[in-house]
Symmetry: C2
Subunit: 359 residues, 2 copies
């Protein structure tokens, strides 16, 4: 086994830039794709991706930069999908014709139910011989302000990772162990999917600040948008998520624990954790309601979480209320457009059957 | 029949001040009560209530000012209850021992289900021989800035009014026709109860502005708090109310019509109606979440409206979502504390049975 693999990086936003640069600087072969041909051209013109920041530094040569999805996937051992979760489904459909046996697809991150939905689409459209996995979060704290340029402030030391079925996770880990040793196996995709921090931190506070988002009135999302009452409500929302995980018998981090692990601060409560976090200073709230805080985090976060709740008979009144208000606020039928049990191929299954399905 | 009646005015807040002054200036005998003995003393010291403003002007002698509820009710032909709706139930219990046959009690306004709840409590605690009615709104646009002083900017020309049972409404109207000719009979208390404008305009926008209410950040409630998206959502909420009324076969005004009738402006939509309304300039939003916009208007507005919806099989997803978020935000179990069908003595009844019950 050689340490050199070929990685396809699909999506060249913030995270895609960081993955492409990181893997190239690790000596891997990188084939990168983006839906926007202009962006591909701009990076090609530069000839490389420049990474700077405390997490990663250097000039990374990318072997292939292409707007041709088939070309990017061809010959790749590992395919990293680094796009907003609400586009996973359409990308899966487009990818299906190009995938071959032995390829590994990893959603970074999967949000909730990403790998399950992805595999379900591959089954219907071909490409089902590839293995699909997901992470619970983004590996990099990063920002790309221009094509070909990325600032990587930090690389997380560890990142929950699982494949569906879980029996493929250790094989997958072997494939990526040299380049991505941070990817740490958890029991199954229930663990990664039920650890959706964005689904906790984004839609509910956005709804409770909806008027000023809609008006485009500037406010600091975390420091002004998350008041004591908002934080308490987010904690109650998080309890619904923890109850679902408990009903599935899987262990996930509470928000409090996640803040402690991610930012190294012990806090009395969520309000203190948020307000003591320097990384949140200067982060603005959405300036309109067509924001990923709703479009992405309701469709691929709260909806599948609520659906998982239904599957295990856990009530999710707060999740449901937020889904309802968000749906009406931006006129999207999230209950239909979002990740339902049906889309995850879990409709009608009980706890034991779901656990066995993902095993 | 003489034009002179004895009125008890219970509650000396803004509306109670206006009622007491108005009735006295109309030549009626007025016995006024407030829960706060100090307020009674302060008005007594002044010796009268001074009314000024475009709606009402004069110095009104009040025959009896007392913190003794029984004394205020004794000998009154008509008892006007002018207190926040969430205190109706406890006042009903306290009043029950003092009421006698032939007395007329009118809740100003009843919010949703006020007269039904009131009568239900009288039945359990005595006093059931009194007739109970409600208005759908407050007769006066007024403000009392000091005990004994009230500014009345306007007196509405007409005010929906009904008794429970509706067969008593015309008798009640005769009692008050000289002093309160504005009280205009509608079919039954379903009409008054399903015309709860505050339940539409207060809790939902408060939830969508919850963070800045919680932070105490000053904002203009209507002009800044009701953005286009908020207004559209309020219209959707109002549609749920209109669907309930339709299922009961009763006619109620839409918010659009209400704004037109109340403020004489034709508007394309709610956003325009609100933003074109000069009366809303300068009205501040709640500076904390312990506000009547939630405590009163959820408990005695959205909860009974949602319950009425349940009785007639009309879905109320937005009402339910707001009830859920408001309950969690201020830790009040509104589904239990609010006006349930059981408290209105309507549990288990269908449309025909409810219609017959209020007839």
């Amino acid at each position: 086994m050689t340490d050199q693999k070929t990685y396809a990086v699909l999506g060249l936003g913030n995270g895609g830039h960081a993955f492409a640069a990181y893997l190239s600087l690790k000596g891997q072969s990188v084939q990168a794709w983006d839906v926007d041909p202009q962006r591909i051209e701009q990076i090609k013109t530069r000839g490389s991706i420049t990474a700077h920041g405390d997490g990663l530094c250097g000039t990374a040569v990318i072997d292939l930069l292409t707007p041709d999805l088939g070309a990017a996937i061809r010959g790749a051992d590992v395919i990293l999908v680094v796009i907003p979760a609400m586009y996973h489904a359409s990308l899966a459909e487009k990818m299906s014709a190009h995938l071959t046996k032995g390829q590994l697809v990893i959603l970074n991150p999967g949000a909730t139910g990403g790998a399950l939905e992805f595999r379900s689409i591959l089954r219907r459209h071909g490409g089902a011989e590839a293995t699909v996995g997901e992470t619970s979060n983004m590996l990099f704290t990063c920002r790309s302000d221009a094509p070909g340029d990325v600032t990587v402030n930090a690389i997380k030391e560890t990142m929950d990772f699982a494949c569906v079925p879980a029996s493929m996770t250790s094989w997958a880990q072997e494939q990526i162990s040299f380049a991505l040793p941070q990817f740490s196996a958890v029991d199954n995709v229930l663990c990664t999917s039920l650890t959706n921090i964005n689904a906790m931190m984004h839609p509910l506070p956005t709804v409770l600040n909806a008027a000023r988002c809609d008006a485009g009135s500037p406010f600091q999302y975390y420091l002004e948008g998350i008041t004591p009452a908002v934080a308490t409500l987010v904690e109650q929302l998080d309890n619904e998520r923890l109850e679902i995980a408990k009903a599935f018998g899987v262990t996930v981090q509470s928000l409090a624990q996640w803040y402690k692990d991610s930012y190294g601060r012990d806090s009395e409560n969520l309000y203190e954790a948020v307000h003591g976090n320097n990384a949140y200073r200067g982060i603005s709230g959405p300036t309109n309601l067509q924001t990923r805080y709703l479009t992405e985090d309701v469709a691929t976060g709260l909806v599948p979480l609520s659906e998982f709740g239904r599957a295990v008979n856990v009530q999710t009144p707060l999740m449901d209320a937020v889904i309802e208000l968000a749906s009406s606020l931006i006129r999207v039928d999230f209950r239909k457009e979002g990740r339902t049990l049906e889309k995850l191929e879990l409709a009608g299954l009980d706890v034991a059957e779901i656990t066995s399905y993902v095993a």
